[in-house]
Symmetry: C2
Subunit: 190 residues, 2 copies
């Protein structure tokens, strides 16, 4: 997606030739007009798939998934929770996720009442790197017996192992900007 | 907002005549079509105000704020972070917030680069009860010298003290469903 790649080139901050910081449009300040273009592009890429629900993960995926849902007939969005309040239902699907940016293991949870075997789920998330978060969601969805229609990622870093782990499960994976490497503070797209 | 009140009547779960659980459309599973109606209603109520940015707080406010922004010329959304990754800028505005549902004190943070004295900010959040989260955001915004155009809340519980604390600061506060009390498991709207 050219618009997104251009935005990464102009606005991303590169740290230690390894970390791509996009908190001025994707992770902290959110560019809602761009998210709408992202929604249109995911609809185009998954136009052959039936989608009854969009699943994402707290926190950065929520805004993107919510805008994207508008292009899939306003299906409900459910986000897996990392930080659970005292009012949360105890009857949940759960999986372990390791966060590299927080150097911490989480348990992510979705209430069983919001996933059924009849659901056809599109997974949406902001980043794919090691694939730990995405595999956590896939594990949750396998527990629920929901069908996985695909996984849509905004930015993928191919120099980590995430894609392989998802494709091995037979899941259609679409990333809108695929970063092959970072050299001298410059992003090289695939 | 009648549509919202009807939805609360049919779908909210009432716990101990005190807690209103709306995680089937507002907090965990998200009804994006409803959020669009909420966006239209906030636009109507703040039609006299200039808005250059929408501010909310992690986690439940993010999806609502993102959809609402579409009705305010797609202004950027910035969310205050409770859970900060190792990549976050250290140059932040911060404030303390006490969460009753998690029985825990948080420090919320917004990078200074995303708030300026030229911003005219609409605050959006899902709930107003004690007002702790909202006052935390207001404190952050005072630090930045941004102008506060108003605060839009989806569900307000008047039997806690939040509204008074906000109105004392001279801020226009608009809540789409105001719950006066809960009796015998039934919500009584104001």
């Amino acid at each position: 997606m050219q618009l997104l790649k251009d935005r990464i080139r102009t606005d991303a901050k590169i740290i230690e030739n390894r970390i791509i910081k996009v908190d001025n449009f994707l992770n902290h300040q959110l560019d809602i007009a761009l998210f709408n273009e992202i929604g249109k592009e995911f609809k185009r890429r998954f136009s052959n798939k039936e989608v009854t629900k969009i699943i994402t993960i707290e926190t950065s995926g929520i805004a993107i998934a919510s805008i994207v849902a508008q292009y899939f007939n306003y299906v409900p969005v459910v986000f897996a929770k990392k930080h659970v309040g005292i009012n949360m239902n105890q009857d949940v699907y759960e999986a372990k996720v390791y966060s590299y940016t927080k150097d911490q293991e989480y348990t992510i949870k979705i209430s069983k009442e919001f996933l059924s075997p009849n659901d056809k789920v599109l997974i949406i998330d902001d980043f794919l790197a090691s694939g730990s978060a995405l595999m956590g969601l896939v594990n949750l969805l396998f527990q629920s017996s929901a069908e996985i229609s695909g996984a849509g990622i905004v930015i993928e870093k191919t120099f980590q192992e995430g894609r392989k782990r998802i494709e091995e499960k037979g899941i259609q994976l679409e990333s809108l900007a695929i970063i092959d490497s970072i050299k001298d503070g410059q992003v090289i797209f695939k």
